[in-house]
């Protein structure tokens, strides 16, 4: 990587004598590469090399011990993933996580940001602090608090439910509820973050547009629909894309602390599965193969998202 960066395009090979002008040109062309070198190096070492290594590993069977031999198994890891029900279920669950998170990371924060925009002084800050608070709670602490709140025997939530005359719900034990519960906890942590971004974008909208529309007699809803939402569209698309690409990853901590993928794998997702294969059962090959599938899938989705973003986001000049 560094050699490319230093010689760069336009360098003279073959040891031919170089004209002074060409040399000056080479030096100038090399400067941007020099600036980029540290970043490129870090990217190569931490992203691309591991990626290539994972790709290689996905064709081997290996338990991550230096003394154990790596056995080449061809496509066997991929075949096993296709036949085992684990991967299929994890993929479906991942989709559910993403779809479930979107309302919590996009719709709700957007509404909160727009509605609190016109609140007066201290009230707005109090309100926003309350919304923002979950974000700064450490994830493991949040997970444990929710475990207590949702406990079937002595949790506050079930206490309230039975007080209202409902049956108790095993939020983390019943497989019909567990996935929804984890989506909620992950989303609850995200609301603050998204609201912050939306509020900032919303505050950045030039007030003269809004005033002009008001003078033309636009209603509050019309202002939101025709002025605010189009101008917020880059942020909306960004957060939507982030949720799609990273949402399921953000749930990892809660899966790990609260359910371990259970009950009966109802809350597992591809990222938890990767970790389970790799670091719980030490199956590096299988984990890498699953990783490659996930990587390819999400690379495709990211590509499509970026295209859509370019096409549909509206930028104020």
């Amino acid at each position: 990587m560094t050699t490319i960066a230093i010689t760069g395009p336009g360098s003279a090979a073959d040891g031919l004598p170089v004209a002074p002008r060409a040399l000056a040109f080479t030096a100038r062309a090399a400067v941007p590469w020099l600036y980029l070198a540290p970043v490129l190096l870090i990217l190569a070492v931490w992203v691309y090399l591991p990626l290539i290594e994972a790709f290689q590993l996905s064709f081997y069977k290996w338990n991550m011990l230096p003394t154990a031999p790596k056995t080449f198994v061809g496509l066997e890891n991929y075949q096993r993933l296709m036949t085992l029900p684990d991967m299929r279920r994890a993929l479906w669950n991942t989709l559910f996580y993403i779809l479930g998170l979107l309302p919590l990371s996009v719709v709700l924060p957007l509404a909160v940001a727009i509605l609190t925009q016109d609140l007066a002084g201290p009230l707005r800050n109090v309100y926003r602090t309350l919304i923002f608070l979950p974000m700064i709670v450490a994830p493991v602490v949040a997970a444990i608090l929710w475990r207590w709140l949702l406990n079937e025997d002595h949790g506050l939530v079930n206490h309230a439910l039975s007080g209202l005359g409902f049956d108790k719900i095993g939020f983390l034990i019943d497989r019909d509820y567990a996935l929804g519960t984890l989506v909620w906890i992950t989303g609850w942590k995200l609301i603050g973050f998204s609201t912050l971004l939306f509020s900032a974008a919303n505050a950045g909208i030039n007030r003269s547009y809004v005033e002009a529309a008001r003078m033309d007699g636009a209603s509050a809803w019309q202002i939101i629909r025709d002025i605010r939402l189009p101008l917020l569209s880059p942020t909306i698309l960004l957060i939507t894309m982030m949720t799609i690409l990273f949402g399921a990853q953000w749930s990892f901590v809660y899966i790990n602390v609260l359910t371990n993928g259970g009950p009966l794998k109802s809350t597992t997702n591809v990222f938890f599965l990767l970790w389970e294969y790799g670091f719980e059962t030490l199956a590096a090959g299988l984990s890498s193969a699953a990783g490659m599938i996930v990587f390819t899938g999400f690379a495709l989705i990211a590509f499509i998202c970026l295209k859509l973003m370019r096409r549909y986001s509206f930028h104020d000049n």
């Binding site: 338990n63 991550m64 025997d153 095993g170 294969y277 719980e280 059962t281």
Partner: protein, 434 residues
């Protein structure tokens, strides 16, 4: 041979010697004459219960008696301790002593380079120490005729029960259930009459390992494997699981959070709890002045004698340096001494691996008289059956597939026998070929 291939061989050789015991009979130093620090990976220290305090107490006492040896104790959660050691060895940080569960025994001996005590310690010295320990216990840490793990803390599953809930359900707390049919009846009575949970075994959670599950199926005459053939999905092993499923379906066996069963028991919401005796001290503390906690032997299937398997751990040494090996061995000896087992049994609840202290008033004599609750565990010691570990490089995947299958069979909606048969087939594909 060109230069590159020679270089390759040298690096390969260097890598090999770095990870394998250097020579089979490199004996340790005779004594520790200069200050030395050894690391001790311990999982009791990582738990927020009585085990951590007792372990700290023992290490402090050891350092006081051996001023030249400093023990750097690292608390690591039981479910992570093996991967942690593997990672540290790969990173070149050789651990000296580690407390590890038995499930990784074969792998530790063949691939991780744990020292065999027979190769490290002079024969007479080793014999002198081992002869005072229980042979069934020592057997658990042996592989291929050599002692890689010195059995340390261990226990068998015992049935904790809440006598108050028994009374409330109209049951006689002085006659705890002895068979699974009786557990079933009591479980139904408790859940119907008190609204609390009937029965739950600590067999399915992330830190539970497989020992309670193995104890249940072995007591019915089943086993998880026969040589290189997995057998958990057939015969008596499957039959025992079907019994548990039936108890889930009729409400005797609770459906609670697999990871917080002990909290449910401690808070008085569970009638019967089958789990390691290592929790005895902690549960007694929680139950004090709140409910009447009692213990009984683990239940059996009809008249068949139960086969309690062990949970718990052995001490493994990895030191390559002769002086550190001596220091490590001194620690091993100390932690299995009369003094240590007095602390381990009375303050944590594990079984003493030496029976010579049970009647000795200087050690456990008085305590055993005052604490009749240790009796079921002591009685089970005679029938102690070794926990079965899986062989081959994929042993952890096999274990995972088995436990996933068991959970699905017991808590799922499908036919348990079918679920187990499918899991067995998947697991078999990962076993070593004969």
């Amino acid at each position: 041979m060109n230069r590159r291939s020679i270089l390759k061989q040298i690096t390969a050789l260097a890598a090999a010697t770095a990870f394998w015991p250097v020579a089979a009979h490199a004996e340790m130093a005779a004594s520790v004459d200069e200050p030395v620090t050894i690391t001790f990976y311990n999982y009791n220290l990582a738990a927020a219960n009585a085990g951590a305090d007792a372990t700290r107490e023992m290490i402090a006492e050891f350092e006081a008696q051996n001023p030249n040896i400093k023990v750097e104790a690292l608390p690591v959660v039981v479910s992570d301790i093996f991967t942690r050691i593997q990672a540290d060895i790969v990173a070149g940080q050789q651990p000296d002593v580690a407390q590890l569960p038995f499930r990784d025994l074969i792998y530790l001996a063949t691939d991780i380079g744990a020292n065999a005590l027979e190769d490290m310690v002079p024969e007479a010295e080793l014999k002198a120490h081992l002869s005072s320990l229980i042979p069934q216990g020592l057997e658990l840490g042996r592989y291929d005729g050599k002692t890689y793990g010195l059995a340390y803390t261990f226990s068998t599953p015992i049935l904790y029960y809440n006598a108050d809930l028994f009374r409330a359900a109209g049951l006689d707390p002085d006659k705890p259930p002895r068979t699974w049919d009786e557990v079933e009846a009591a479980g139904i009575a408790i859940s119907q009459k008190t609204g609390k949970h009937g029965f739950f075994p600590g067999a399915y959670g992330p830190v539970d390992g497989t020992f309670v599950y193995q104890a249940i199926i072995m007591s019915n005459g089943g086993n998880v494997r026969d040589g290189n053939r997995v057998t958990f999905g057939e015969g008596e092993a499957a039959e025992a699981v079907v019994k548990l499923r039936q108890m889930v379906d009729n409400g005797a066996h609770a459906r609670i959070d697999l990871g917080s069963h002990a909290d449910t028991m401690a808070s008085g919401n569970l009638g019967m709890f089958l789990y390691t005796s290592a929790l005895m001290a902690s549960l007694q503390k929680s139950a004090k002045d709140k409910f009447d906690l009692r213990v009984a032997a683990m239940p059996g299937f009809g008249d068949k004698p139960t086969k309690p398997t062990n949970s718990g751990s052995a001490l493994f040494t990895f030191s390559k340096d002769p002086v550190k090996q001596r220091a490590a061995y001194e620690l091993l000896k100390f932690l299995t001494s009369k003094y240590a087992y007095t602390v381990i049994t009375s303050k944590i609840g594990y079984l003493p691996l030496r029976t010579d202290i049970l009647d000795d008033p200087q050690y456990l004599g008085e305590w055993v008289k005052q604490n009749p609750m240790i009796q079921p565990n002591l009685e089970q010691l005679d029938r102690l059956t070794a926990n079965v570990a899986f062989p081959g490089p994929d042993y952890r995947q096999v274990e995972r597939i088995m436990m996933d299958g068991v959970r699905e069979a017991i808590f799922g909606k499908d036919d348990p026998l079918e679920v187990l048969a499918i899991a067995q087939e998947q697991a078999q594909a990962l076993m070593p070929q004969d």
